[in-house]
Amino acid sequence: MDQVKHAPTWIVAVATAFLGAAAFGQDESKRILVLHPAGPSFDDAKKGIQETLGDGYDLKGLVVTKETSVEEVQKAWKEAAPKVVVAMDNRGVALFKDARVKMSDSVTPGVALMGVRIDATIRDVQNVVGINYEIPAVTTIVNLRSLLSNPIKKIGVVHRASMDDMIRKNAEFCAQENVEIVGIRVPDDADAKSALNDALKELTKRSDIDVLLVINDNFFLNAKLVKEVWLPRLSGWKHPVVVGVESLVKPELKFGTFAVLPDNYALGAQAAGLVQEIEDAGWKVEDPKVDQPLSVIKTLNLRGMKSCCGVQQDKLGEVDKVLE
């Protein structure tokens, strides 16, 4: 102890400088700026990134709100000098894009996630990769099919015309699993209530539709239309109704029978994989792409499902939440 206490000042100084440089070097080489809104979903995703990458990476978070300015992002960006910027939510992605333009920085790569239509949002942005937030229909159907006794061949979907590309892509994925999407396309300027009513009438009178998939789109999915169209139209329809919002799968609501939501922690882990690909390529995006989300949280309205369809009881252990 005495030896340490009386160590020459220069040794302490050199050691301090060395340790400081090492720490600084580590931070400099592996620093990641994360632009994210506040909230548990984003915290989970950030945790997934940090825990997957491990201690060698230093995540600097900047909570973004509607009021966050591009200048604030620029300041955080300059301070962090990150190797990668991870932008969450459409607000985070927009700020990332704006800050980049203002800083004339197209070198720092970006990873975009947890926003609406990430694929469209970063379509023309260079040196960026992303992960869509919308759960592909095939993921939902494969998970649902493993629970049901009956086969699923056709799924009905009501969608706006502006979602054509998304529906087409989903149809391709579903075809791999021998499932066909039967889409009812509604013009974006249509009256939502009557268009939805007509579309549901058409889908529910068909005998070959095995499942109805409800897309998370405020145009069709809001409290008023749930009460005035969805619930009356689906009353007595003896097939699963799949939703992407957990509150809509509550048994007492008598609406959704199965809900599939993104697993935000796993989404963060998936984003960490993209960060590592960027690192492996020398901190640049070698393969611009938008991946599909891989991992989901499944909630089953068992009461509702039993009232319409046969459920394989031994498969219930594969569901995250079972509501009765």
Binding site: E177, Q270, Q292
Partner: protein
């Protein structure tokens, strides 16, 4: 020491022994959810406190923060904790190792694996997974690491991976979920270590209890029997 004075000490010692002797941490990725596995194991391992983790990071963090007395984990992961000595090995078809299999939508050429994207469930921290997979398949593919077994199939559906790497015991379960034309390719000489049970001290009680697990519980742990 009179008896009435000794009772609190004995009780405290008993409680301390209980608290430290019975804690078992489990990490084994499977189709079944951790809460379901935990309930099933807890029902069979009465007298032990079983915690099943769904996330690798939670498992490794808790081992450091609140060390258990025993762990049940894939062999490769258990080896990361040398304080815990293996007292029982999970087995399938009589062996503690099972053949490694690649599942894909297109034929897999073994020689081209080094340039392929291979999906795998993370049972080790990310950097260690590279060495682990290399030891199994004999080359170093680019890894697409997922957190759950059920996330492997989407890697193939979305074309994010050329193949997924699993143990032979998981092939039917994964293929059974899909109607795609999936192909399987055995990895020449590739073996994957099954789950092992490791403990810091005497594990004779836990060993006896594990041997009473039924087919359903053992299936959740990816084994059909135990060997020493």
């Amino acid at each position: 020491m009179k008896l009435h004075r000794a009772v609190p000490w004995l009780a405290a010692a008993f409680l301390a022994a209980q608290a430290s002797a019975d804690k078992i941490y489990v990490f084994f990725p499977s189709m079944a959810k951790p809460n379901v596995v935990q309930a099933a194991l807890q029902a069979k391992l009465s007298g032990h406190e079983v915690t099943v983790f769904g996330r690798l990071a939670d498992f490794t963090t808790m081992i450091k923060q609140t060390p258990p007395d025993a762990i049940l984990a894939p062999k490769a992961l258990a080896e990361q904790f040398p304080d815990f000595k293996v007292f029982l090995k999970g087995a399938r078809n009589g062996g503690a190792l099972e053949p490694a299999v690649l599942i894909s939508t297109k034929p897999v050429v073994a020689d081209a694996l080094a340039t392929a994207n291979v999906g795998v469930v993370g049972v080790l921290e990310r950097p260690a997974m590279n060495g682990y997979v290399k030891s199994v398949v004999g080359s170093q593919p680019k890894l697409k690491i997922v957190t759950k077994v059920e996330d492997l199939l989407p890697l193939l559906t979305f074309g994010s991976a050329d193949a997924i790497l699993v143990g032979e015991g998981q092939v039917d379960e994964i293929k059974g979920r899909s109607q795609a034309a999936l192909q399987t390719t055995d990895v020449a000489n590739g073996k994957i270590g099954l789950l092992v049970a490791s403990a810091k001290g005497d594990a004779s009680k836990l060993e006896a209890a594990l041997k009473t697990l039924g087919t359903a519980e053992k299936k959740m742990l990816g084994v059909d029997s135990w060997i020493k």
